[in-house]
């Protein structure tokens, strides 16, 4: 994973609640065995509608997706995160995220910015009115700044997640440094737990 410090860019207002991962990337796209090429699948069932906000030229250079509450609920498909990233987004702002999606985002360096419900509504409105409003998301200070409207707000992020994002650390590498603890735990596992011989 590439380190993520500061995300600077404009937003696109996806004013819907409960945007589940089946909407983000429909199941037809999950048959691929590669990790790339998912950008075309992003919201593919909504994209046929010319009025769909992501089809609006004004927002074509946006790198921050601003959505209603319960974004990314449903299926565990990490393809949803890959699709959003591969379409050029670096962060998602929502009042509430589906837990697995949130986890998957952080593993890939897509920053989930959780905001209060009222603030979420305000941001959607602001970006609808001012498409070129510039956001600065600072991972190290866990702050979002929108200078033009004189707005600064903090967002929640676990210290361990923050450290991984800032340093682009490989989770598996970190865990494997605990090899001795894992082996020790394995020695004491209960005798009847099921095992397979292949």
């Amino acid at each position: 994973m590439e380190p993520v410090h500061i995300i600077q860019g404009t937003g696109v207002p996806l004013d819907r609640s409960d945007v589940d991962t089946d909407q983000i990337i429909p199941s037809d796209w999950l048959k691929r065995v590669e990790r790339t090429g998912f950008e075309k699948g992003l919201f593919s069932e909504w994209k046929d509608n010319p009025d769909f906000i992501l089809n609006n030229e004004v927002y074509s250079s946006a790198s921050i997706l601003i959505a209603g509450p319960n974004f990314g609920t449903g299926s565990s498909r990490e393809h949803a995160v890959w699709a959003i990233q591969q379409a050029g987004f670096k962060a998602v702002i929502s009042p509430r995220f589906g837990p697995i999606f949130r986890n998957n985002s952080m593993k890939n360096g897509l920053v989930p910015v959780e905001v209060e419900s009222e603030l979420g509504k305000r941001l959607l409105q602001e970006v609808l009115e001012k498409p070129f409003l510039e956001f600065v998301i600072d991972v190290e200070r866990a702050l979002v700044e929108v200078p033009e409207i004189d707005l600064t707000f903090a967002f929640p992020i676990d210290e361990s997640v923050q450290e991984r994002l800032l340093n682009g650390l490989d989770d598996i590498g970190i865990t494997l440094s605990n090899e001795a603890s894992i082996s020790k735990y394995e020695e004491d596992r209960l005798a009847w737990l099921p095992t397979q011989s292949s």
Binding site: S17, D20, Q23, S27, V33, E34, L176, S181, W192, P194
Partner: protein
């Protein structure tokens, strides 16, 4: 202060305490399928890593497999490639694999329990959000993404932040026409799609205790639909009886030892949950979803809501959009709505008890004219048992299509799909837009209601036939 069940299991699996950071948890069972694993195996290869415990890992083909003509090669080339990739990965990394056509093949969340692989007190993960199903055994089971699949393959552990605890009490006694599916849909109607986020839910109370293991799996299965990290139920005699004698269950002296430990797996009397809700089981009538998320629930005998009934503007807007997508008229009885397709299957409701319950409703009756019907057993074992009991004949005589095991129309990755505007009564778990096929309209119901609906041609309970 005492501990809750999930805290007890969590604490027993800490390899390294996080001390503010996430705890590193040991994973007892890792279930793998074709859709969320190829990129994880690739990651291992790129980094020169092995699967640490192939003996604690098991894989099968379910999401994308066809449910008819399974002796023929898969026609969809991309699906075929994904299946072949899993077979090659299982072979390369030494993982036990149940391919299409194998007697043990089936939906991961059906085969784990029926093979006795899911046991009380274990940690179980899978790259699938419905892994919460296994919580029915008093296991801590949750869905993970592909990065985490790779992590578990390489280390057999996962760093996890502590979760809050949530008690969902369902008290009293369920009406005879209601089932486990109605219980969890009713819970969803109360807590909504976000009510469990950040918590592990424990289902408790007399209604839950009276459920069979199949019923408990149905309830825990849909925990993720209200956003819970996991859902679980304390093991009891029903659990132990289910496990006794299964292929991977302990036997002899080890069975006795296991039983002693399993009996300790319950929430202490003085434990306090962070969140708690209570439903009166007696009030849970057969349920159905009307909208495009599983929290949009009404009784089968109820009326389709009016957007203006919702106080919250976001909910009002969501209701408006849902009614438009679903092609429904506000304020009218949902039972009057005609349907095109009935799907009985999925990790929520494709077990033997589900098939028995649907079969008992349709016995001696005929599917309404023009209604397409699919019964997709959850596994090879379920299918064989159903055929032994003659359920396949009951379904076929009524006009149902009897299929091979797989996820099928639950997520429409295989050829079983809804057409645009086609309306289904489905025993699956998600009524999202396009979930069962682009433009398709899904209503989630229990197997009993699905079966009655197939006969009536519109939404119905068996009692109204």
């Amino acid at each position: 202060m005492g501990k809750t069940l999930s805290q007890k299991i969590w604490d027993k699996h800490i390899v390294k305490s996080g001390d503010g950071d996430p705890d590193l948890l040991y994973i007892d069972l890792h279930l793998v399928h074709e859709v969320t694993s190829p990129q994880a195996f690739d990651g291992l290869r790129i980094n020169g890593r092995q699967v640490r415990r192939p003996d604690l890992t098991i894989s099968t083909e379910d999401h994308n497999v066809p449910t008819s003509n399974v002796d023929q090669p898969i026609e969809d080339e991309i699906s075929l490639k994904q299946i072949e990739t899993l077979r090659a990965n299982a072979e390369e990394f030494g993982i036990t694999h149940y391919p299409m056509g194998h007697p043990n093949q089936g939906i991961v969340h059906v085969i784990g329990p029926e093979l006795g692989l899911t046991q009380p007190g274990m940690t179980v993960v899978c790259g699938d959000s419905h892994t919460s199903t296994h919580g029915a055994f008093g296991a801590l089971a949750f869905g993970i993404g592909t990065s985490e699949v790779e992590h578990v393959l390489a280390t057999q552990t996962l760093p996890q932040p502590r979760q809050e605890t949530m008690a969902i009490n369902v008290t009293g006694e369920l009406p005879s026409e209601s089932s486990a599916k109605d219980v969890v849909l009713a819970v969803l109607g109360v807590v909504g799609t976000g009510g469990g986020i950040g918590a592990i839910a424990e289902f408790r109370g007399s209604v839950i205790e009276a459920l069979s293991m199949e019923g408990r799996m149905t309830v825990c299965n849909m925990s993720i639909e209200f956003g819970a990290k996991a859902g679980l139920i304390a093991p009891d005699e029903t659990t132990f009886e289910y496990l006794r004698g299964r292929v991977n269950s302990p036997s002899g002296e080890l069975w006795d030892k296991a039983l002693t430990e399993w009996k300790k797996l319950h929430t202490d009397a003085d434990a306090v949950f962070d969140r708690e809700i209570t439903l009166n089981g007696a009030e849970i009538v057969p349920q159905i979803t009307w909208g495009t998320n599983p929290g949009q629930v009404i009784p089968v005998k109820g009326n389709i809501p009016k957007p203006d009934d919702f106080d919250d503007p976001a909910e009002r807007e969501a209701a408006k959009r849902a009614l438009e997508y679903m092609g429904l008229e506000e304020g009218t009885p949902i039972s009057a709505v005609p349907i095109d397709t009935v799907f009985i299957g999925s990790c929520t409701n494709s077990r033997i008890e589900d098939l028995r319950s649907a079969a008992s409703v349709i016995k001696g009756k005929k599917v309404a004219k023009g209604v397409r019907t699919l019964v997709v057993p959850g596994s090879g074992v379920v299918k064989k048992q159903a055929e032994k009991e003659g359920l396949d004949e009951t379904f076929k005589a009524a006009g149902f299509d009897w299929r091979e095991p797989g996820c099928s129309m639950c997520l429409a990755m295989n050829p079983d799909k809804l057409d645009p505007r086609e309306r289904s009564a489905s025993t699956s778990n998600r009524n999202f837009e396009g979930r069962q096929g682009r433009g398709g309209r899904t209503h989630l119901v229990s197997p009993r209601v699905a079966a009655a609906t197939a006969i009536a041609g519109h939404f119905s309970t068996p009692e109204d036939l």
